[in-house]
């Protein structure tokens, strides 16, 4: 696996090439927004898979290289909210201790995907465009912007036919969250886009982080954290060529 610094330099090179390509010819540009479905995985073998959701919004840029090949990039603010659930149940000397822990995290990232797109026109309807269907793939840089989070743990102790239920709520501070989340991580993105002649486009993609989204010195109980993101967005090309 590539190191964090190599990934960063590869990404910056690609970003430069895209910017260079975009400087010639007509640019397609517009806003886009959509829904995130987040799948969070942990390195520890006993950790459960958790999922969450959020939203994204930002802008896209695109430029044709040939009639079927395009390069593009985006700046997307992307919220990924999810709950980590941990449970514990142990009985020692007739004392049963159970705990239910819900750790809520809601990091906001600036996602910058850069991709190469291959387009094809599969329909002759009046709404279709030359790029009705396109497939794309490329690297994505994610910069941690801000976030929120909290922990709600309930411990239940049963002994001598008596029960104690004790909840503990903790709101994570911004510095604590900054210590937990990695400031920058890389991933790969692959997706499919439907573009209509009116300028609307519908995009479905999968993004997978290649390095952990939490810091090495802030591993939680389940170790390294990785995100897989399923994103659905709708965009509109406000200037440049209509499809």
């Amino acid at each position: 696996m590539l190191s964090r610094s190599k990934m960063k330099s590869t990404f910056l090179t690609l970003l430069f090439l895209c910017t260079f390509a975009l400087s010639f010819g007509q640019i397609e540009f517009g806003p886009k927004a959509g829904y995130n479905q987040v799948f969070v995985s942990f390195s520890a073998s006993n950790a459960p898979e958790v999922s969450g959701n959020g939203f994204n919004s930002g802008v896209f840029l695109q430029k044709d290289l040939t009639d079927k090949l395009y390069v593009g990039g985006e700046f997307l603010l992307s919220l990924r909210t999810y709950n980590e659930e941990l449970s514990f149940d142990e009985t020692v000397d007739n004392i049963r201790v159970r705990s239910e822990s819900f750790v809520y995290r809601a990091p906001l990232y600036l996602d910058i995907p850069v991709f190469v797109k291959y387009a094809m026109n599969l329909s002759a309807s009046r709404y279709s465009s030359d790029k009705l269907l396109s497939f794309y793939a490329g690297p994505q840089a994610s910069i941690y912007m801000t976030g929120s989070g909290s922990s709600h743990e309930t411990t239940i102790v049963e002994l001598l036919d008596q029960i104690t239920v004790e909840p503990t709520d903790v709101d994570f501070t911004k510095p604590e969250l900054k210590e937990y989340f990695s400031p920058f991580h890389m991933g790969i993105v692959a997706g499919v886009q439907f573009s209509l002649s009116a300028g609307l486009n519908f995009d479905l993609r999968v993004t997978r982080s290649l390095i952990s989204t939490n810091r090495n010195n802030a591993m939680d109980e389940y170790g390294k954290v990785n995100n897989t993101l399923l994103q659905f967005t709708v965009g509109y090309n406000i200037f440049g060529s209509k499809y």
Partner: protein, 260 residues
């Protein structure tokens, strides 16, 4: 206009669909606040028929209460002071903690070999492992005791609490005391409260409230009750919650004490 509406709807929809924090559905039980604080148990073993116990030792114990008002005091008492369990408690703690048989004997944190400042320093060095709090309710001929014990350090092992019923101002004889047969005996343990429900017999060794790997923050309630003698005035009734770690050989190691 239509396109703007689509974007707006999607944005709001995504916001609504964002995950909310999940919470447990268990309902919290009433739990008392527990201070992160160590108290020293200052005690003496004494006998109502012993002259020294009614003379200088009686005064020394009274002075100690006055000079260190924030500590926990117990006068383990030998002799008949009104058919209470004071003698059994005296015998138990003397045997369990190897307190010298001679009276009077002063000891701190149930260790006859250390003075008050040494006991306090040792506790300060160890930090607050656990502490307790209680409320009590007089209910006819019963006293109901609600205790909460909290751990402040991650710990390992078996931990017990002993809720000793302490009565002040018991009028009983005391040799060599100026008040002779009408001496007011202070801080006398007369009984131990037992967990409500009758699943456990009253025990001076207390009740197991934590075992195994114990996380800092572990909190446990224990409801107990004990018989009330009609001669006791409400203001003279209190409890000393003694907290122990149980060693592998079954012996107890003093950890902390609480009263109010």
């Amino acid at each position: 206009m239509k396109k703007k509406s689509i974007f707006l709807t999607m944005f709001i929809g995504a916001l609504i669909l964002g995950s909310c924090q999940k919470k447990s559905e268990e309902v919290a039980t009433p739990t008392l606040e527990v201070a992160e604080h160590n108290s020293t148990l200052i005690a003496k073993h004494t006998w109502i028929g012993c002259g020294a116990c009614g003379a200088w030792a009686f005064e020394q114990f009274a002075n100690s209460i006055e000079n260190n008002p924030n500590e926990v005091y117990i006068a383990f008492k030998q002799g008949d002071i009104g058919e209470f369990a004071n003698q059994a408690i005296y015998d138990h703690f003397q045997a369990a903690f190897e307190i010298p048989t001679a009276t009077p004997t002063f000891h701190n944190n149930l260790n006859a070999d250390i003075d008050i400042s040494t006991a306090q320093s040792a506790q300060e060095a160890a930090g607050v492992v656990m502490n307790a709090n209680y409320t009590m309710e007089l209910d006819g001929d019963k006293i109901k005791l609600h205790t909460t014990t909290k751990f402040f350090q991650t710990s390992e092992g078996r931990y017990r609490i002993t809720p000793l019923l302490i009565i002040d101002n018991i009028i009983a004889p005391q040799a060599a005391h100026p008040d002779t047969t009408n001496t007011r005996h202070k801080k006398v343990p007369v009984d131990v409260a037992a967990p409500i429900g009758g699943v456990t017999e009253p025990s001076y060794d207390g009740y197991l409230i934590a075992s195994g790997d114990i996380k800092a923050g572990y909190t446990v309630n224990l409801e107990c009750e004990v018989d009330r003698d009609p001669s006791w005035a409400t203001e003279d009734i209190s409890f000393a919650i003694l907290m122990f770690k149980e060693n592998s050989d079954g012996s107890l190691e003093f950890v902390n004490a609480f009263t109010k």
